[in-house]
Amino acid sequence: MTTPPAPRRRFGVDFATVLASPAVLFGVAVFLVPVIVILVRSLTDPSPATYADAVTSDIFLRSIWTTFRMAVCVTAVCLLVSYPYAWALARGPKAVRIVLLGAVLLSFWTSTLVRTYAWQILLNNTGVINSFLIDSGLISDPLPLIRTDFAVYVGMAHILAPFTILTLYTQLTSIKPEVEQAAASLGASPTSVFWRITLPLSLPGAAAGGVLVFILSLGFYITPEVLGNSRELYLGSVIVQQIQVLLNSGTGAAMSIVLLVMVVAVLLLVGRFVGLGRILGIRRGDR
């Protein structure tokens, strides 16, 4: 037996590592350093007591509840709306698919700010919907649409639905048509094929999209601020208030870290069931 020649290495670094290093450095500088800065700030500005301030703050604790409730509702709405949409996108006739894909991508590429203010224009007391209803004589006083949970949920769902639509679409297109045909040939009616084959096989996509939307909505700031009720504060607003209004940047940093920990906890919890790689779009191949 001869030993195979050792791969050429200098300083234990191979070529791929060299190639990847600028990206790694960029990632560390842009993503990791700010988190460390916030972490340090939360512990030293002025002292770790900021965490005590954060978790004993009534406003903060209430905002956690408000925010989680909102995130659950928005995720549910996104999934319910996205499933039929993604279904049509994956299985519909070509013309329908092009229109639906164009619509979702156009919405996806439009700034969150623009879409939020668009909802404001629609939902205002003097907005499009209320003006129309009053002008047509159906109601005399404007409906309370803006500054409600309803407005926040609708706006958030609209902004975040592309994530669930696209993950569900990807999942649905990965189901081989033969699998559904096999089920039909084995005696399953079209509804039975859907409930027993298509739906279970699309669940990983729903879970991935759902977790993505849930986590994104926990940290949303602009949309709840513009469309929401000022008495019902969301996490993002409370943190901004600490830093910009009350100038307690240490407490704000501590709150951010608490939010981060909660996000990581949710990810780990769901990751146990779905697989983190799937949610983050990393696949180790199908087999």
Partner: protein
């Protein structure tokens, strides 16, 4: 009591008679399947054979109910299937890519058709066990499809397709994704199983060897049309047309205008006048005709040493290529005129004949066959 009530004593079943009557499938003005009619006997194994684009898969999908025929009818034991949706056709189907349900265990996969057809829960375990035993996968019940090899997956698919005792088993290139050794083993296994269970099987393949070894009958399709329908022997030994002769096995085909001399028909091959075989169908005088000879029926010998005789035809030529293939060898022989011929012989021949040699190619007159023009 419905037709779905099962006699669960065992998996044997009375396969259905299938009647395909003038089925066509048009895409615009293009006919993917063009007026195909076939009568399939109960319990027989029929292969739809053809190159890609021949319409064989389209025809199978029409039989399964995934596609509607543009015209024509399909009957199962005399019952018109045209308006019956896929899930009520009582068929089993095996796909090239197995199409197992990836989120279910082997057990659940095989149980699926039983549950859909409302077989009583108490009867299911025995049927599942029997089906898995039939494909030699006992003990794999709790595995997931991804934990199985390709051959095992296809055997699960087979068990799933037969467990509910379908009237008709459809197979769409079931062995296409498997390697050669496995394919041959499964060919034998599927063939035995279908016979033991009395299944009517319609199998689609482009692999002529698979068609020849597995089938009771082969339906050869080309360009959407049925070229020939017969036993493997009939198709191989007596192809009814040039298309059939060229598709199944290697063949040498000579064409020319036959002449009649002294009551016998002759045709010019490479400048030699070659007597046509006696045939039930006489050629039409003045019209092109073709004869075909299988390469292994031809005999090659160094020039001047070909066996002579009243019953033999001989032409001369030069060896253009000699290909060694273990037990046999293949010679390409250029004739003085016309297309080269291919000869298959025992590889011992290469001891006496080499590339460039002048040789005589001869064959028994009865080994040549007159082909219908198509």
């Amino acid at each position: 009591m419905t037709a779905l009530q099962h006699d669960v004593a065992d998996l044997t079943t009375a396969g259905a008679a299938v009647s395909i009557r003038g089925v066509s499938k048009y895409y615009g003005s293009f006919a993917a399947v063009d007026d195909v009619s076939l009568e399939i006997e109960p319990g027989s194994f029929v292969t739809l054979l053809g190159a890609s684009g021949s319409g064989k898969t389209t025809l199978l999908r029409i039989l399964a109910g995934f596609l509607d025929a543009s015209s024509g009818a399909i009957e199962l034991d005399g019952r018109d299937l045209t308006r019956v949706p896929v899930h009520k056709r009582e068929i089993g189907m095996v796909f090239q890519n197995y199409a197992l349900f990836p989120h279910m265990t082997v057990q659940k996969n095989v149980e699926f058709p039983l549950a859909r057809r409302r077989v009583p829960r108490a009867d299911r375990p025995r049927l599942i066990a029997e089906a898995l035993e039939a494909v030699e996968l006992t003990g794999f019940e709790r595995r997931m499809p991804t934990e199985l090899s390709g051959g095992q997956q296809q055997r699960v698919a087979l068990a799933r397709a037969i467990v509910a005792k379908p009237r008709l088993l459809l197979m769409d290139e079931p062995l296409g994704a498997l390697d050669r050794r496995l394919r041959e083993a499964l060919q034998v296994q599927i063939r035995q199983l279908s016979h033991e269970l009395g299944l009517t099987v319609i199998n689609v393949t482009h692999d002529q060897e698979e068609a020849l070894t597995m089938s009771d009958r082969i339906a050869l399709l080309a360009g959407g049309r049925l070229v020939q329908y017969g036993t493997p022997y009939e198709l191989y030994a007596r192809p009814g047309s040039e298309v059939a002769a060229r598709f199944l096995g290697e063949s040498n085909i000579f064409s020319g205008v036959p002449r009649q001399r002294a009551g016998l028909w002759e045709i010019d091959v490479a400048g030699e006048s070659v007597r046509l075989p006696d045939s039930s169908t006489d050629p039409v005088p003045g019209e092109q005709a073709s004869v075909f000879i299988r390469p292994h029926r031809m005999h090659v010998a160094p020039a001047g040493s070909a066996p002579a005789g009243e019953d033999r035809c001989t032409v001369t030529g030069r060896v253009a290529a000699a290909i060694y293939a273990g037990d046999s060898c293949k010679l390409h022989v250029e004739l003085e005129q016309g297309d080269p011929v291919v000869v298959r012989a025992d590889s011992e021949l290469l001891q006496t004949v080499a590339t460039g040699d002048r040789v005589e190619v001869s064959w028994r007159r009865t080994d040549a066959l007159l082909l219908a023009r198509s």
